[in-house]
């Protein structure tokens, strides 16, 4: 199942990855080969098989909705590349 260069470019866009032309063409070949290997899955009949998202089988883990102090607000903000007071700065989104 070979992948076209345009498809690789589209996936990079979806993944928010800026890739060089060299990277794009390398991934075209490498991803194509990996996807070819995965074609073995298509041959299996799974029409009656439910999907497994999670091996543990726990669902809807609930706890009391009680606010607690995390105590790490400053440490979290300090990791921000650009910050203004208690906010993290990003380029303007809305004109």
């Amino acid at each position: 199942m070979p992948l076209s260069l345009d498809e690789v470019r589209k996936v990079a866009r979806l993944a928010r990855l800026k890739l060089s032309d060299a990277e794009l063409s390398r991934f075209e070949g490498q991803l194509g080969r990996v996807l070819e290997h995965m074609a073995d899955l298509a041959a299996l009949d799974t029409a009656a098989v439910p999907p497994t998202a999670h091996a543990l089988g726990l669902s809807n883990v609930m706890r009391a909705d009680e606010p607690v102090e995390s105590g790490v607000q400053e440490a979290l903000l300090a990791n921000g590349p650009e910050r203004e007071g208690p906010y993290l700065k990003v380029p303007k989104v809305i004109e």
Partner: protein
């Protein structure tokens, strides 16, 4: 090398409790050892000498004050650099997290500290735990202490190399498809991936959330059992944490193997094993039988699909988990020429992630994208059900599965870097365990003709990690593996 660096974690804790030596002396001897050999091995991304000394002095002060000391009193532990220690770096082996300081302790870190262990430093890994050789670290590759021309395995290669080279008594790693067991096998250690949910993932930087699990790398079964006892047990901060209480794995892993039924999955051996590995497997099986276990062949017919299923599911989950690294909240940031937010994301991620991480994000994004979701992601989840079904069926007839941990001993640097698929195939024996959510352990069972460690893997029913340790103990006791790396 000081005698203190040769001691097991169990003996260090006992010695510190008795007052035979101080925790400070133990830490000092390990820091000296790091200074002497880590320039060759390069296991550590950062050594926390000051905080380790301070923590050791606190343990000694606690003893002097007459207080009881914890299970791992004064034991120097290395943490893989994707496990958070408050105030310390957590690079995940990536440039994108350069400069990041963990705001809080992972639950495992908190529990190690509560048990009076001392964190020595953060160890190297393949970037975001994606890799089998440590060659994907954005910083430098760690070397295998048994042969510096060979890889230590991955992704917990730094943790494995640190323990094998006596630069830590114990280490924690994470295992998504074999990342604890494979480096343990390559470095001659016990490496345990607990049952999914047995150990909290809170404070572990997520790679593939339905597969990731933290576990110990140790030089003995006793040490792995002690570490697991300390780090396991329910944690309300992890919604995938199993609601089970803390257990004493040291006690639970004692005892003989009378009546224990072992299964040898035919499909793992279909391709034929290298003679050295075949020999290790046979010696291991003899040791198990001598202790009262019975061995029979079992069939797990969907084993051959595990690689494909894994390389759809793990990259899909990774592409989602790694979306958070966008230059807004942490790490490096890079603006685009147009100054837009979209460019900021693309530039930051394009510059910050290395080739393997990009490859997997691309693979996962493709598998989850409109038009391919059913054919790849949903299909892989369905085949995951079949693989899990193989385990359920096998565990009706046997209590444990036994296989080699890896197809061969540690390979040379550069041997598999050109072909991602060849690299992925080195995890073919360890991947199914994560997909099924069961526990697995690697235990040294011999050496290759070149003197490189070889490991055997056991897998057990969910929640029966004590049986993994019990079986591995029989292999350990048979003395099939001995010696230490000459550095």
């Amino acid at each position: 090398m000081s005698a203190l660096t040769s001691l097991s974690a169990k003996d260090i804790a006992a010695g510190v409790r008795r007052g035979d030596f101080s925790a400070e002396a133990v830490v000092k001897s390990h820091l000296d050892r790091i200074a002497a050999v880590d320039a060759k091995v390069r296991a550590y991304l950062c050594v926390l000498a000051d905080s380790a000394r301070a923590a050791a002095r606190a343990v000694d002060a606690k003893r002097a004050a007459g207080k009881a000391l914890g299970t791992l009193a004064g034991v120097p532990v290395a943490l893989k650099d994707n496990i958070c220690l408050a105030g310390a770096q957590a690079t995940c082996g990536s440039r994108i997290l350069e400069g990041y300081k963990a705001p809080y302790d992972a639950t495992v870190t908190e529990r190690l500290k509560a048990a009076d262990a001392v964190v020595l430093g953060k160890t190297n890994l393949d970037e975001f735990a994606m890799g089998s050789s440590n060659e994907n670290s954005a910083y430098f590759p760690t070397k295998n202490p048994w042969d510096l021309a060979r890889v230590p395995g991955g992704s917990s290669g730094g943790s494995a190399a640190a323990v094998a080279a006596r630069m830590a008594a114990l280490a924690l790693g994470s295992d998504t498809g074999g990342s604890i067991r494979q480096p343990a096998a390559f470095c001659g250690l016990v490496g345990l991936k607990p049952t999914y949910g047995a150990v909290s993932r809170y404070g572990l930087v997520a790679f593939a959330s339905s597969l990731d699990q933290i576990g110990p790398l140790a030089r003995s079964i006793d040490d792995a059992a002690l570490a697991l006892s300390v780090i396991s047990g329910h944690d309300p901060k992890d919604s995938t944490s199993a609601p089970s209480p803390a257990r004493d794995y040291l006690a639970e892993s004692a005892g003989d193997l009378g009546g224990l039924r072992l299964g040898l999955p035919r499909e793992y051996l279909e391709g034929g094993l290298e003679p050295d590995m075949q020999g290790a497997l046979e010696s291991g099986l003899d040791a198990l039988k001598a202790r009262g276990a019975s061995v029979r062949e079992v069939s797990m017919p969907h084993t051959r699909y595990a690689l494909s299923v894994y390389y759809v599911i793990a990259p899909s989950e990774a592409s989602s988990n790694l979306a958070r690294f966008d230059g807004v909240r942490y790490g490096a940031r890079r603006h685009g020429a147009g100054g837009s937010l979209l460019e900021l994301y693309e530039e930051t991620r394009g510059a910050g992630f290395g080739p393997e991480v990009k490859r997997r994000i691309m693979l996962g994004t493709y598998a989850l994208s409109s038009g391919y979701y059913d054919a790849f992601y949903l299909k892989a989840q369905k085949v995951r059900t079949l693989i899990k079904g193989d385990f359920d069926a096998a565990f009706k007839d046997v209590d444990l599965l036994v296989t080699p941990t890896t197809p061969s001993a540690a390979f040379r640097f550069g041997e598999k870097t050109d072909d991602p698929l060849q690299m992925y195939l080195s995890d073919v024996f360890t991947l199914p365990c994560n997909l099924a959510g069961v526990g697995g352990v690697s235990v040294p069972a011999g050496k290759s003709a070149q003197g490189l460690p070889l490991g055997l893997q056991f897998m057990a029913r969910p929640g029966e990690d004590h049986l993994l340790l019990r079986a591995a103990r029989a292999v350990e006791a048979a003395g099939l593996f001995s010696g230490e790396p000459d550095l």
